[in-house]
């Protein structure tokens, strides 16, 4: 199995559509086109081996089934997994004559996926950083009152970021196929400092995202407490997120009532109390 320039370019196009800051919107781009399961279908169609594509997609999807990207941080990039990883895995499996549905094929697919997924985070941050350029255009437009240009800032210019950091890398890496992966694996052995660091960073990046969320939530020091309690419930007791949410609701109700009882002057708006009005008039 080989990949032609035209096939590689099609893969590159899909890559533009599906990263976290993607051109096809989060729901359609990232959550649909970007998921390896769907990527397997698309790559299978493009490369003409549907079964193999799906099999690779399923294997990779299992690894990334619950990918959260809190506060715009990703520890693995779906664009690279789905549109670089799957095609390369397909080529490798086909060339080694492995049974597409067998265990070795799945393992090969997973390791390629992990490799390019983590390497791909570099592409993700590159796109997000290049978008700062278009945003600087946008600020000028806002300042000058040229509001109509904002549409281009949001929907047009970012294509350039993706052309450079999604389209081109995908096209070249898939075209040069197995050679590229082999080269990458040799250049960056898993037990080398580079890959170890990359994976360590990958594991830590979501902390930045959570920190961004915290910056939005934390007003005073005591606000850290519910955060830590939520962490404790999940980390020490193994509660899952729905259960944590259920428990948090109880504290939310309590806090609501505590806030409502504060001051004691302004009653709950749904239960107007006589004396309150008097007070209001006093002022």
């Amino acid at each position: 199995m080989t990949i032609s320039w035209i096939q590689a370019a099609m893969l590159g196009l899909f890559a533009c559509l599906c990263s976290n800051s993607c051109m096809a919107g989060q729901a359609v781009g990232n959550y649909t086109i970007g998921r390896p399961l769907v990527g397997g279908l698309i790559c299978g169609l493009i490369l003409g081996d549907l079964q193999l594509g799906i099999a690779c997609g399923v294997a990779m999807q299992l690894v990334y089934i619950a990918l959260v990207t809190p506060g715009g941080t990703v520890s693995a990039d779906v664009r690279a997994i789905s549109y670089i990883g799957i095609p390369l895995a397909m080529v490798a499996i086909a060339s080694q004559g492995l049974n597409p549905l067998g265990g070795s094929a799945a393992n090969l697919a997973k390791s390629v996926g992990t490799l390019v997924g983590t390497v791909g985070t570099v592409l993700y941050y590159a796109v997000a950083t290049m978008n700062l350029v278009w945003q600087s255009f946008g600020w000028k437009d806002v300042h000058n009152g040229k509001l109509n240009k904002l549409t281009a800032v949001n929907f047009g210019w970012p294509w350039i970021s993706h052309a450079i950091f999604s389209f081109l890398p995908t096209m070249f890496l898939t075209y040069y196929g197995a050679t590229a992966v082999t080269a990458l694996r040799n250049a960056l052995p898993m037990d080398g400092v580079a890959m170890k660091t990359l994976f360590t960073v990958g594991g830590m990046l979501p902390c930045v995202g959570i920190a961004i969320l915290l910056r939005q939530i934390i007003g005073r020091t005591t606000d850290f407490i519910p955060f830590l309690v939520g962490f404790t419930l999940a980390a020490s007791l193994g509660l899952n997120l729905v259960s944590v949410t259920v428990v948090s609701l109880l504290f939310a109700v309590i806090m609501y009532e505590v806030e409502m009882s504060k001051g004691g002057k302004q009653g709950n708006s749904t239960v107007p109390e006589g004396p309150n009005d008097d007070d209001e008039e006093d002022i």
Binding site: S21, G57, V68, L147, I210, N240, S269
Partner: protein, 281 residues
């Protein structure tokens, strides 16, 4: 409430236009610095144009939306709907200013990010994928197709529903904001948000050390990770997160620089044997 007769009212077409811009564009021009700010502005543009025929008013109105914004784009749709309604109220002369609008956005975006990331990314998507994966065992495209159809329908109509819920809720959102009950509701949502964010951190992030000390006889006598777990499970994860928070909030380091610092820390950690993801091809 006064002069409701000559009041401006957003028509469905404008609202749908605004919604679609958010649906497709919340993250397109994402950066670590401004995140979804431009996606938000782009979504409000149709609203502002409709409500303020005068260009100067439009330019004045957009200012409220230049503030930093980031949330879970799915659930966050409700916030966009609410601002559409608040903007309409402001255009009709109600005493709402940009500050009020921004207070609401700032108060809701964090909690909704936490809840949304947990419910959508952490629960709903994995369930749908789990079901679909089953159908695609053996290389059948069925599962993938099922996933595409099911999810896109849920996402589109779900978000659309939220947008219009937010819009209709908007009027109350004002009373929601001013006064005691507003503060109480935001406090309550904040509690849920922070507990859920804590849960997200513990569930999906796991910073660990590989440091082990060996005795003369070759046996491990110190497994640092075990020791840390016995102090407080997930300690390193919390520490790294709070460190990032501290850098960004107290030292005003940008997200990008914070990330680069993590690269440096990881590199050093790997070199001294503190970190080791322990993977192999």
């Amino acid at each position: 409430m006064e002069n409701t007769n000559n009041s401006k009212k957003l028509d469905k077409r404008t609202l749908l236009k605004s919604f679609h811009r958010w649906f497709w564009g919340a993250l397109t021009c994402f950066s670590q610095e401004h995140m979804q700010t431009f996606g938000y502005m782009a979504s409000m543009l149709p609203i502002l144009k409709k409500l303020y025929p005068n260009h100067k008013d439009q330019v004045k109105a957009i200012k409220a939306y230049t503030a930093f914004f980031n949330t879970n784009p799915m659930l966050g749709t409700v916030i966009v709907g609410i601002t559409a309604s608040m903007e309409q109220a402001r255009a009709n002369g109600k005493e709402i200013d940009g500050e009020t609008i921004n207070d609401m956005r700032a108060g809701l975006m964090g909690p909704i990010a936490g809840i949304g990331d947990s419910l959508i990314d952490g629960t709903l998507i994995p369930i749908l994928l789990g079901i679909s994966l089953g159908m695609s065992t053996g290389g059948s495209p069925l599962g993938a197709i099922f996933y595409i159809v099911a999810w896109v329908l849920i996402a589109y109509f779900g978000q659309r529903f939220l947008y219009f819920r937010g819009y209709h809720f908007g009027d109350q959102a004002v009373s929601f904001l001013v006064g005691k009950q507003g503060a109480a509701i935001r406090r309550a949502i904040g509690i849920v948000g922070s507990m859920v964010v804590g849960g997200v951190l513990a569930s999906w992030v796991n910073v660990t050390t590989s440091l082990k000390l060996y005795g003369a006889n070759g046996k491990v006598f110190l497994n640092l990770q075990n020791k840390l777990d016995s102090i407080y499970p997930g300690l390193l994860t919390v520490i790294v997160t709070l460190f990032c928070w501290w850098l960004m909030t107290k030292k005003h380091v940008s997200a990008i620089w914070t990330m680069l610092l993590l690269v440096v820390i990881s590199l050093i950690g790997v070199l001294v044997g503190f970190f080791n993801p322990g993977l192999s091809y």
